[in-house]
């Protein structure tokens, strides 16, 4: 998990997030609310940067790109969000939207970064195929259809003269 560049924005907007509550209402009774967890999620921060220089904008571009855009999670130094202690310590951040840069002069940039804090689940699935090995070669019998098309594989009402079995062994198959 990466860390957002330690660039102090010119201004910050944020909200306090939403608790995980669902509401149920029916005739004759008032709304009933269920709190699913004590965790408050979705604190949204809007970080406004003005007149960033080339080095700083490159830091933001690189972080957005290396973070796979809005897909990946990252941590944010407390200084970047103005020391705001509104998020759970276990929260991670994601980009809410893709930021748009305004080029305001010679290598000077305005940009607004929208991020939000969530209770992230860091799961990584890795498909590893390299260690697979081919089994040893073995002789096999092959049968081909002969006759007149079309060929029908009738599994329900087939009445073979000689009982035969056809096994398709996929899981744990070995040659």
């Amino acid at each position: 998990m990466s860390t957002f560049p330690t660039l102090i924005p010119n201004s910050i907007d944020f909200d306090f997030g939403t608790p995980q509550i669902s509401e149920y209402s029916a005739f004759g009774i008032g709304p009933i609310r269920f709190r699913h967890t004590d965790y408050i999620n979705g604190q949204a921060f809007s970080l406004k940067y003005q007149a960033l220089d080339q080095t700083s904008i490159e830091l933001l571009r690189t972080h957005y790109s290396d973070n796979s855009g809005t897909a990946g999670e990252f941590s944010v130094p407390i200084a970047v969000v103005g020391g705001v202690n509104a998020v759970n310590s276990a929260s991670v951040y994601r980009y809410t939207t893709t930021p748009t840069e305004e080029h305001i002069g010679f290598q000077r940039y305005n940009v607004t970064i929208s991020i939000r804090a969530i209770e992230g689940v860091l799961i990584q699935f890795i498909l590893v195929g390299e260690s697979a090995q081919l089994g040893s070669l073995a002789a096999f019998d092959s049968y081909v259809f002969s006759g007149t098309a079309p060929f029908i594989l009738d599994a329900v009402d087939a009445d073979p003269a000689v009982a035969a079995s056809f096994i398709l062994n996929a899981g744990g198959a070995s040659l």
Binding site: T37, G42, Y64, T70, R94, T100, H103, I104, F106, E119
Partner: protein
């Protein structure tokens, strides 16, 4: 294929590409994202060209008339001057929409929005 005219914009904005992502949320507020591709799409560039004459406007409209929303093209260095922007190799630009023009007394402003697309054959 003809490149975009070698003009210098008076203003420029840039939106980097985004990745195709699927989000799954639970009641507890946990959220999982799945990225479905390594390729970012939807890079966007917007330019405004300001001039006292119609020369720039004519160059852009002539170019748009040929390329339209169909033919991809490359950008000259003049429109990306000093921006430090880089893009995936082989990708080219198309017009995101028709250029728009605003005529004010003595000033003509042409706005152009471009979209980066993966290579394709026509």
């Amino acid at each position: 294929m003809s490149n975009f005219p070698s003009l210098s914009p008076q203003s420029r904005s840039y939106t980097p590409g985004s990745f195709a992502v699927r989000r799954s949320k639970t009641f507890s507020g946990e959220e999982v994202t799945v990225r479905r591709t390594n390729a970012a799409i939807d890079y966007k560039l917007r330019f405004t060209f300001t001039s006292g004459s119609t020369a720039q406007q004519n160059q852009i409209f002539s170019h748009y008339a040929i390329q339209n929303r169909f033919q991809p093209f490359d950008l000259p260095t003049s429109v990306l001057q000093d921006s430090g922007l880089t893009f995936p190799a082989g990708y080219q630009w198309i017009y995101a929409r028709a250029p728009t023009v605003v005529h004010e007394p003595g000033v003509i402003r042409v706005s152009v929005e471009l979209l980066l697309v993966a290579p394709y054959n026509i």
